[in-house]
Symmetry: C2
């Protein structure tokens, strides 16, 4: 994309109450716009990031055998009443239609997916199966702070699995743990993300969280010195020793929960009277697990942990564009024409090779302004075409997180590895 | 996908008050599930259709230069008050958060996109530009009937364009008309869709609608006998003659509005005080157009007009799968093994060629049941592997809307053209 066409621009200011440094950069760089506290518009650059995160997660869910659906945001009151959460879930946005029909906006979707599965799965032979959605969810947070880390409206993936066999149910739970770490690896979070034992909220007694260590996090985790397993502060008292290795030494870290998985047991299936007919004709209980990842939160977390003082540093797999092609103007009109020609050729060649390129073709901007913007936006590679580089028939390629630039011949620029 | 794994199943029944035949089939075939009146869950088969429609529309918007964003569903009251629509737009779902912050769910998004554009576009040089989103919208319809044709929650695309030059504004409006017809062509609606002059609601004085003729439609259009242009009944009195060709003869048709485009003029920009700084330093008014297509409605409309008495007939470009591979069981165990082997080979070969295949590998189903399901689901091509076909080293390929099947050699089945 040509930067001169991008309708957003970088900004110096951000709302004073945005305390997350990552979100401040996302706002200033034009990835998101704040519509209200906890409510954001995803702008073109942010949209690209989220779409890539979505694709990575969707592929992982497909590999697990998940079947994708989209559930409604308007969740009728009767379903919440069936599970007892109309009053028990404190962050529901409730509304009433013209016909006095009442809904709560989907804050979680067990109330939709359970009766949905029940409609189709009758016999034990219909199990196991998994259903997932990636969609907007809503929570009436008293204090929506920390930008994308805790929004009132956010994009989330939830996978729900249905089983009649406890072994099979537990096996998928373990498989999803692995799948999650592969997702966090691909999105650049794996190195600082810890599997954490936590409480289960309104969902279950315990859960496993995937906590990414960062000072911006709202959670406190106790990280086992020995095996790297961690325990959320909320249940630490119950676990003086690490449940994985027995070690008693823990480090304390602030962290943000980027994913969570729950063994729901029969909590929701029982509420809806959802049972299966077994091989002997008798009823069998239906077991459920659910597995969540917040996509907007994941984007906010990457912004939080992958940055420097100048701006964002995107991992290649989720960068809005792999390369930021920067054309520097010369004062000499003839030279300038050559710079533009060279830059446009590289732009079109890279696109042909399916490399995403943001092309800074803006005129009347100083070198300083262009480099500052490139650092703030944080594409993994900066490719500079200038009078100086052209004098050596080259472009200058610099990794965002490196100080050293590399001169690469014009004829070789397009074969450069922009993927890692 | 293996049909034995699909968690949905075909059903005989549907809610008695679903009057649209297309929606009845979508429900029975397991493309959608009704969560409440006007509120649907999109099931895996329906998800595939919507995703394909989304890709077709997104590509068309990208070609027009549209930049994709996602706007919030929670639209703060202050924005609606700025445009005077908090009370004037009668189908808003309103809600209040814990902090007494009030929102209406996005029923239309001028209230978000206008101040968003204003934040970045200052100089006349920043124009023109276009922003689009494809997201869920909400309308508190008194009577949500006709299934997907008029829902309370639905998926919609809106493109918004911003201009400081009337000519340029009008030129894009005409360009979008062409773009829309290319979208309707690709999705199978072009032959029965008419450009229609209509009122502008709360948006503008007039608008152009894209009306697809069907008995299930809620609108009445007057179709010019001569040129094919049409006029919505709501403004027919003002146009005794066709405004395009002057003809006075019209046919009356029931139709459903699948798209609409509006010249908004300065209605919303003026409300927000959004002006541009012109070349002479003076303020210039900002002109806006908006261009909508309902994606769930489009799916419902295709289901409505492309079907027969046995079920749906999907155009290849938006079918959930291009081919429905149906394996028919033999009573002879040895033969059965060969049938399965042949079917599995075709299944894997077609997938390698990027042909989407639904593989009916279900056991214990009669020929009649399998064929009935295939007709109801409506994939463009049915590929049958049976004892009879294998006796001729062949499969039987039948177009969904044809009575004739064709014997195609096993070695040639994968080179068959499943695209049209």
């Amino acid at each position: 994309m040509r930067q001169s066409q991008l309708f957003t621009k970088t900004q110096k200011d951000f709302p004073a109450d945005e305390t997350s440094a990552g979100t401040q950069f996302l706002l200033r760089a034009g990835f998101i716009d704040r519509t209200a506290a906890g409510v954001y518009t995803i702008l073109p650059l942010g949209y690209n990031v989220l779409r890539k995160i979505e694709n990575i997660i969707a592929k992982a869910m497909d590999r697990l055998g998940g079947q994708r659906v989209t559930m409604p945001a308007l969740v009728p009151k009767k379903y919440w009443e069936t599970t007892g959460r109309w009053n028990a879930f404190d962050a529901l946005y409730k509304l009433k239609g013209k016909n006095d029909d009442e809904y709560a906006l989907g804050a979680t979707l067990e109330e939709i997916v359970t009766p949905l599965a029940q409609k189709y799965a009758v016999s034990y032979k219909d199990f196991p199966f998994s259903i997932y959605q990636i969609q907007t969810k809503f929570r009436d947070e008293m204090r929506a702070k920390s930008g994308l880390l805790r929004g009132r409206e956010f994009l989330m993936k939830d996978l729900y699995s249905f089983h009649v066999d406890q072994k099979d149910c537990d096996a998928l739970y373990e498989k999803v743990k692995d799948s999650y770490f592969s997702i966090f690896k691909e999105t650049g979070l794996a190195a600082s993300t810890y599997l954490t034992l936590a409480g289960g909220g309104t969902f279950s007694k315990f859960s496993h969280e995937f906590q990414t260590a960062t000072e911006a996090g709202e959670d406190i985790i106790y990280l086992c010195d020995n095996c790297g397993f961690s325990i959320n502060r909320e249940i630490k008292k119950e676990y003086p020793k690490c449940p994985e290795c027995g070690c008693e030494k823990f480090g304390e870290k602030k962290a943000i929960e980027v994913g969570n998985i729950f063994k729901l047991g029969t909590k929701y299936s029982a509420a809806f009277g959802f049972e299966a007919v077994g091989p002997d004709g008798c009823k069998m209980p239906v077991l459920m697990n659910c597995y969540g990842i917040g996509l907007t939160r994941l984007m906010g977390t990457v912004a939080e942990i992958s940055r420097d003082s100048a701006g964002l540093i995107w991992p290649a797999a989720i960068a809005p564009f792999e390369a930021h092609l920067v054309e520097l103007e010369s004062k000499d009109g003839e030279v300038n024409k050559k710079i533009r020609e060279a830059a446009q050729k590289i732009y079109s060649d890279l696109q042909k090779r399916d490399i995403g390129v943001l092309y800074d073709d803006r005129t009347g901007k100083s070198v300083g302004e262009k480099f500052k913007d490139a650092d703030l936006l944080g594409m993994p590679f900066r490719v500079v075409v200038s009078e100086k580089s052209l004098a050596k028939d080259s472009v200058e390629i610099k990794k965002r997180d490196s100080r050293e630039a590399e001169l690469v011949g014009l004829d070789k620029a397009c074969a450069f590895n922009f993927k890692d």
